[in-house]
Amino acid sequence: MNLQNLDFTPLWITMKTGVAATFVSFFLGIFAARFVMGRKGKARAFWDGFLTMPLVLPPTVAGYILLRTFSTKRPFGRFLANSLGIQAVHTWLGCVLAATVIAFPLMYRNARAAFEQVDENVIYAAQTLGLSERTIFWKIRIPMAKPGILSGTVLAFARAIGEYGATSMLAGNIAGRTSTISQQIAMVLQNGDFALAGFWCLVIFVISFVCLVALNLFGEKKSKGKKHVFHRKNKKTTGSL
């Protein structure tokens, strides 16, 4: 293995995929959390189950469903390709789609848990004080849920950059286009190149670990920051008469 000749495109493809999938999951997850919280009873149970499925399904099953949906040999995929020029199979878009589907439940569940932990009385108070539902959501509920939303985002990113099963089925492993690090690892391992596979394993390991440690440090700093108290308390003017 020679680092100078190493092709780094899998790293860039992985990072690009991770960022794009996290970006999409972030908004979809928050939207879905808000949507499910607004349902009651059976509808709520159904939607929550449906939206959580990708977390528990084998990624290959998710990959199969995506492939059957977006295949250009089938009506929906053909429609997308012919009318809108969108093609998910064997493209980078497929990487993003697969990673998004797999990472989404982490964002959704963390966001929902964070929203539900917000003290309802604070929301009621905001309503009686005349704040609009939109203001309450963006200025009060989201900031109060920030730690949970942040951890959902980081977990979604970490999951997205490690996605393998669904990605390999939908996007395939095309060098320079859809070959992510996790697919690269599988491929070079099949060729018997343990050193290169190990290198990529290390890369993924380091990125994921840094994300999680950064998340923990941020959470700690946040709670420490709350303790700097009474900064101006003793400021008294000592005038003489």
């Binding site: 309503q127 009686t128 004080l129 005349g130 704040l131 108290v229 308390k233």
Partner: protein
């Protein structure tokens, strides 16, 4: 300035049934936990929806089930002070206030903060404020939204006794110039007596007619009210004559205030304040000769309280107990053996 609330709502344990009409000034609603007090406030504020009824504030209809009017909380202009203050934790004190103001005015915000001793805390987050400071901030925030009436939901009940009175005074000072209706909900009789002008009670979702506070405490009218004001010796009755009843729970025949025959069926129970039972057959200072009931008792147990002796006496021939409170000042010690206790007929309250 009139405030009308007539609502019905089926709850798990009972039906909430409120019918009240009030003007500017403080109306207290006293009731035990789970009596429906908070639910009533939430229906008024629009956080909960009644099954049917009508709510109007100064001629403005907030809720009318027959006309399908149900304003959202945002449109009701009802100030609601929560027990835990419900400040916005991610905003500074100044931001907590300015976000609710219709016309943003940082100078006014700072003026308010300074007026109520929070001038140095404009940039502090609620977590950094003491309980008293949080309460003042919540009050400023509520008033900054210019409410047309105010609801106070047990604002002092979570506080320690020594700071409670100080906070009560502070809140009352802040509300001094508020010339609109204030509904104050509490389970604490003394708090209610100190702060309110008029009192209504709530039991099992039923709201009683509003009365002047002294009358409310001096003459409880229902079993629930008697319990709420501490008139704890309660028995069901049968009438024997126009001024005599048989107290079923105590197996006693007692003289009570004279009541016409047709009035009698209104009353189903009697109650006696623990402080109205004495050990003496006659008091030197008794203004008017009254008929004093004599009650024979078996055994008494005494508990020493801060300012009084709480004596529970078992009535002869029954398991029932009567509780009396004897002032420690007047009586340095309680007699070892008590065989008879007394209560004036005029001090026995007839309950509906």
């Amino acid at each position: 300035m009139s405030f009308i609330v007539k609502i019905k709502k089926q709850l798990a344990l009972y039906e909430l049934l409120v019918d009240l009409e009030t003007e500017a000034g403080i109306l207290a609603v006293i009731g035990g936990s789970g009596s429906g007090k908070s639910m009533t406030l939430k229906c008024i504020a629009g956080i909960e929806t009644p099954d049917s009824g009508f709510i109007s504030l100064n001629g403005r209809v907030l809720y009318d089930s027959s006309k399908k009017i149900n304003l959202p909380p945002q449109k009701r202009n009802v100030g609601y002070l929560f027990q835990e203050y419900a400040l916005f934790p991610t905003m500074t004190a100044a931001e907590n206030i300015s976000i609710v103001m219709k016309q943003k005015n940082p100078v006014q915000v700072q003026k308010w903060l300074e007026e109520y001793g929070l001038g140095d805390y404009a940039d502090s987050y609620p977590d950094h404020l003491s309980g008293g400071q949080k309460q003042r901030l919540a009050m400023i925030r509520m008033l900054a939204a210019e409410p047309q009436c105010i609801l106070l939901d047990e604002p002092f009940s979570a506080l320690d006794e020594h700071i409670k009175r100080k906070m009560e005074r502070e809140v009352m000072e802040m509300l001094h110039d508020f010339d609109k209706p204030i509904l104050f909900v509490s389970h604490n009789q003394e708090e209610v007596y100190r702060l309110a002008d008029r009192i209504g009670s709530m039991e099992n979702g039923r709201f009683s007619p509003i009365r002047e506070k002294r009358a409310f405490f001096a003459e409880p009218q229902t079993v629930g009210q008697a319990k709420l004001v501490g008139c704890n010796n309660i028995s069901e009755i049968d009438w024997i004559s126009e001024d005599r009843v048989y107290a079923k729970n105590w197996n006693l025949s007692l003289r009570v205030p004279f009541t016409e025959l047709e009035e009698q069926k209104k009353y189903r129970a009697i109650a006696i304040y623990p402080g109205d039972i004495t050990l003496y057959s006659e008091d030197a200072i008794l203004e008017e000769k009254q008929v004093r009931n004599k009650i024979s008792v078996k055994s008494c147990s005494t508990e020493e309280e801060l300012h009084s002796w709480a004596v529970s006496c078992q009535i002869d021939g029954t398991d029932a107990e009567l509780m009396m409170l004897l002032s420690k000042e007047k009586m340095p010690s309680v007699p070892e053996k008590i065989t008879e206790i007394f209560v004036d007929g005029g001090k026995i309250h007839l309950l509906q």
